[in-house]
Symmetry: C2
Subunit: 383 residues, 2 copies
């Protein structure tokens, strides 16, 4: 028998069987009336999930492609932008903007730190940047920032916010309109429980006004061209039709569960993962707090190479977790829990980690992680 596989990385994430099945339906033509109806419903559902009345644009591209669209539609060469970074993705957006000739100022934290609103305010005043990049969920560290507070600081300083919400939308609260977020970028393959291939951008009227003045050339990622097509229920270029069908189905499941219920489930999953890891005696890298509901970053015990642990989980048990980036790779592993997840996915991951660590003779507590995770989950969902 083939090894049963468990996808427990922070993206792509497991896709529900009915979503996979929807994606396998015969391909629709993207200019036909049935696709039009599907696309318009899908966009309306995305608005609901993002809690917004703003325009939602849907690109056939990864989340990085969608973030690039924000850069080329909002920043002309030489214009200052503040990139807040405390990990892999914050760094990527700074590099992306620099590639397009923006005058990039960085508000840089050590990996694992949580960005502070007062720092954003101070750096915006100092630099005069009119656009700020924020990362909602930094999956390289497990930190979920307080985007509401950061965006408020940005707004008070007169700057437009561009929020990388690739792994957070659908998992933790994100109130696009209430929090006044100008641009929100997300991907299909995280908490939205859909295969990768689509990414979305939510654009406020302030962002549209700015985009109209931006001189950076763009074609595939041009927002105005995309909006003009989407208003008629299609796209300017052939979209990943099957992924749109899958996404629409997954959004239906998410909205059926209810956003608040989904947020509570994710918070409980995060808590279960942290409590289980701690019960084993492991040290957390991601903050031990309610918002850490996307991915739990854990440090391997002394003497254990996290890279070996990640390889063994996959090689022996078919469990894919994520390793650490860069210099954290020898020490860190990350268990993702966004999207189509319940607590028994967490206990599976913890049980396998415990088994392998005990086998290597590492100093971990045996037999407590699974029970503690289940207990913590039950406590959390009761709250």
């Amino acid at each position: 028998m083939a090894v049963k596989r468990y996808l427990m990385a922070p993206g792509p994430t497991p896709v529900p069987p009915e979503v996979l099945a929807a994606g396998a339906e015969p391909v629709l033509h993207h200019r036909g009336p049935d696709f039009r109806e599907l696309m318009l419903r899908c966009l309306a559902r995305l608005q609901e999930v993002c809690r917004t009345q703003n325009d939602v644009l849907l690109f056939t591209a990864s989340g990085s492609g969608a973030f690039e669209s924000a850069v080329v539609n909002l920043l002309s060469p030489g214009e200052p932008v503040l990139a807040v970074t405390a990990g892999e993705f914050g760094d990527r957006w700074a590099a992306l903007a620099a590639t397009y000739g923006a005058d990039v100022h960085e508000l840089r934290y050590a990996w694992g730190e949580t960005p502070r609103p007062e720092d954003v305010r101070a750096r915006l005043e100092e630099t005069g940047a009119e656009v700020v990049f924020l990362v909602h969920s930094e999956t390289s560290t497990g930190v979920v920032a307080d985007v509401q507070a950061l965006a408020q600081a940005a707004r008070e300083a007169g700057a437009l916010t561009v929020v990388d919400a690739v792994s957070s939308v659908g998992a933790v609260p994100l109130e696009t309109d209430t929090w006044g977020l100008d641009v929100v970028v997300a991907g299909s393959q995280k908490a939205l429980m859909t295969p990768p291939g689509l990414s979305l951008v939510v654009v406020s009227s302030r962002a549209w006004e700015r985009a109209a003045r931006t001189t950076t050339p763009r074609f595939y990622f041009d927002w105005a061209r995309m909006r003009a097509s989407l208003e008629t229920g299609t796209t300017p270029f052939t979209p990943a039709v099957s992924v749109v069908v899958a996404l629409d189905t997954a959004l239906g499941l998410l909205l059926e569960e209810g956003l608040e219920a989904a947020f509570a489930r994710h918070a409980a999953l995060g808590r279960a993962c942290r409590e289980g890891a701690k019960a084993m005696g492991l040290e957390l890298f991601s903050p031990d707090e309610e918002r850490s509901a996307i991915v739990t970053a854990i440090l391997a015990p002394t003497g254990v190479d996290a890279r070996e642990l990640v390889l063994a989980l996959r090689g022996r048990f078919g469990i894919t977790v994520a390793g650490g980036h860069g210099e954290l790779a020898p020490r860190m592993f990350r268990i993702g829990h966004i999207g189509y997840y319940d607590v028994f996915d967490i206990t599976t991951a913890l049980a396998a980690v415990e088994f392998l660590l005990v086998e290597t003779g590492a100093d971990v507590e045996r037999g407590t992680a699974v029970a503690r995770a289940l207990e913590a989950y039950r406590e959390a969902v009761r709250v």
Copy 2:
């Protein structure tokens, strides 16, 4: 019972059931060893299909996105390029290059004309352009150009060729290396029998040399970044994993059939479609020749609005064919026949067209199209 649907547009095209099923397998992580193996096999199969030893790059984007990658990797602002255009797609590539500040010279033909090598040669000498855009299959008109001859003229003038082969790869002969094509752009959703979402770019060493000197900024569509990742079997940004699985399966089917057999089948399908349409008394817009193997553009009889015919085919019979672009819309309809097609798809389309035309009282020959199409197909595959 729901209306049975027939997708007969020149893309997206029907996808074989086993390819749809492969795309519905549980999602793989794009950094894992199983995906790496899959991706490397898929790239090798694409080389085989494109008849090349050059690098194949795979982007999560439509064919237009992949063509944009050619523009931003090959042309610095102000550099001259010759865009050969005789239809919708030729026009699009000219507009795309102009957006990025290239000095675009057009070799423009009336829609439906076939570009001539001597014109390419003359215009390259006149303009000094070092890059030329060619469209292999112009799906807006049904014309398949003699890319071998056009590319030879370009090569003799010292220019790099960028070939839009989005709808031609896998359907008609395309010899990337033998014909000396520098860049070939294609999509997953045409003759490659895969859902849309992926596009590929084949890059010659001459094109790599030029790309190294190009100053146009690029990030998502940067060739060098993509090649560096693909060499290790993954991509810099999360790819449409499920579409890669589907594409690999479809390429397996295509190579099992054999490229030469697939070319012969497509040529026979084109011939069957033309002979059937002519037997009905309809006038062809696309050339009545062997290379017209992608899509057959047909003129509606006098007094019939082609737009109404297209709507009726879909509304009453569930058959999606394509209409004409722009000013050709009232007169033209197009039957696609690339990819997962056999002659009974052609006879279905012709029978439905005949039925509707007879019903409107149009002056068409009744009862001959289907038989003539089958006969022509049989003659063609015997040859």
